[in-house]
Symmetry: C2
Subunit: 278 residues, 2 copies
């Protein structure tokens, strides 16, 4: 047992999966869930993702030696600040997709002896909701941690937590995380949504596997993603600029019927995709 | 047996799969393959996708009652014209991704009594090459035919051929086909390639399933796709214009930090993708 009690605040797909993985793998003796929605907490309890649930952060945080914040990205700061007050000098981590500024924003409220180690498990699904939780959601996935604290022992314990859930932990600074994820996650989401958005529904029956793959993540939760885009605004706009330039290149080559140029342009994309593997 | 001998010209993934499906399903007594590459023909024969192979259209076309052209899209017209000369007054179809102008371009060479019924099976894979052929490649897929001929009997026989390979046949006019496929297939390909093309290879290890899905088709053959884009230039440029406008909308909403607007924009894409199903 790494922890006696972990408290998960925000019990959706990620929070529920953290609970399931923690219980399945013996990472914590007891898992408490906190959510604004009592129904979700009941479903999580039925799934054995949590041992007990409450709508009160004060109540749920009490007795935790690790608090894991799994709310949408725009609520993490306020939830952490509330948790600091009630759980006190223990360990804190989160699962948000954008990391820049978060640690600094809550630093004023952090109690002496408490350590917050920001984290982002690179795992998810098109289907949100606690009912889609899986004990293996983090298995063989990367979790990025962006510690700016000098508390090496706390960083090591939080890293051990995410590893115990099955993931491989990579350390980065928060700004580099946000720039990278803008390119590898946030831009692709916007692009997938734009492809779907310009396709008349009547034409869907004449689409094949390619369209299905390209647009799959467009089914993601609009509210969650609007929050992610806003939180990582600068980096997403920069990635979008690079992407728009790249597509303008394609447009010019096509306008010029530059067959060799089109082939070269496509080969550059293929080279990157081939490096990723299937 | 629908046909005594079918001759497949161009024995790659599609041609090989036509052969495998035709033989597995008893659609033809004999399948002849024609390709410029003798090695590919030998592989196709070993896979039982063809009964015999030749590098000569003259030799391969002889005795066919159906010729199926499965070359890259930019070679279909010249191959059809050569086949017309050697197979004579029989049935012709193809598997090209772009249909506009093709029938008109070869009409002058069509022998009396010959009928060409253009077709496009909506099937494919990132992996080209005859070695990836599958007897079920067309199973439960749509094949679009774009007949402009008034020879109803020929149209019906070619439709029966593609149905016998396992697909569902849909009739459209060629221009509507090209406009639709520009949106459902060609634009997504360019976009997938552009996303991959702007991603530094070093960052790939920090990508997850979303990036993998969005960029999957970017691994396609650049030469094949350059030919498709060039052949469907006008419709692809139009689709690209709509897409660019849609993405500019996203950019403006993000610049303005318009959270409700972003959520609405994402919801519109989600609505289309949800209509497609998983």
């Amino acid at each position: 047992m790494l922890f006696d009690q972990i408290t998960i605040i925000g019990v959706g797909l990620i929070g529920g999966s953290v609970g399931l993985a923690a219980k399945t793998r013996g990472v914590a003796r007891r898992v408490v869930g906190v959510d604004r929605d009592m129904e979700k907490l009941k479903r999580a309890e039925n799934l054995c993702a949590i041992d007990a649930g409450t709508i009160s952060i004060a109540e749920g945080a009490r007795g935790a030696d690790l608090v894991v914040v799994c709310t949408p990205v725009d609520r993490i700061a306020e939830v952490l600040i509330a948790a600091f007050e009630h759980a006190g000098p223990v360990l804190y981590t989160d699962a948000g997709s954008v990391k820049g500024g978060l640690a600094a924003a809550v630093e004023w409220a952090r109690p002496d002896g408490a350590a917050y180690v920001p984290a982002h498990p690179l795992a998810g699904a098109e289907k949100n909701g606690v009912e889609h939780s899986r004990a293996d959601l983090f298995q063989n996935r990367i979790t990025i941690i962006t510690p700016d604290s000098s508390d090496a022992h706390a960083v090591q314990r939080v890293a051990a937590f995410w590893e115990a859930l099955g993931s491989r932990v990579v350390r980065m600074n928060a700004a580099a995380h946000d720039r990278t994820l803008a390119a590898t996650s946030h831009l692709p989401h916007a692009v997938a949504s734009a492809v779907a958005g310009v396709t008349p529904v009547d034409w869907l029956s004449l689409s094949a596997g390619g369209f299905r793959d390209v647009t799959r993540i467009a089914a993601g939760d609009p509210a969650l993603w609007a929050a992610i885009f806003q939180a990582n605004r600068e980096a997403v706009l920069a990635a979008l600029g690079l992407f728009a330039n790249r597509l303008t290149e394609f447009q010019r080559l096509l306008e010029a019927s530059d067959r060799a140029g089109l082939e070269r342009w496509l080969s550059e994309g293929k080279q990157v995709r081939d490096a990723l593997g299937t």
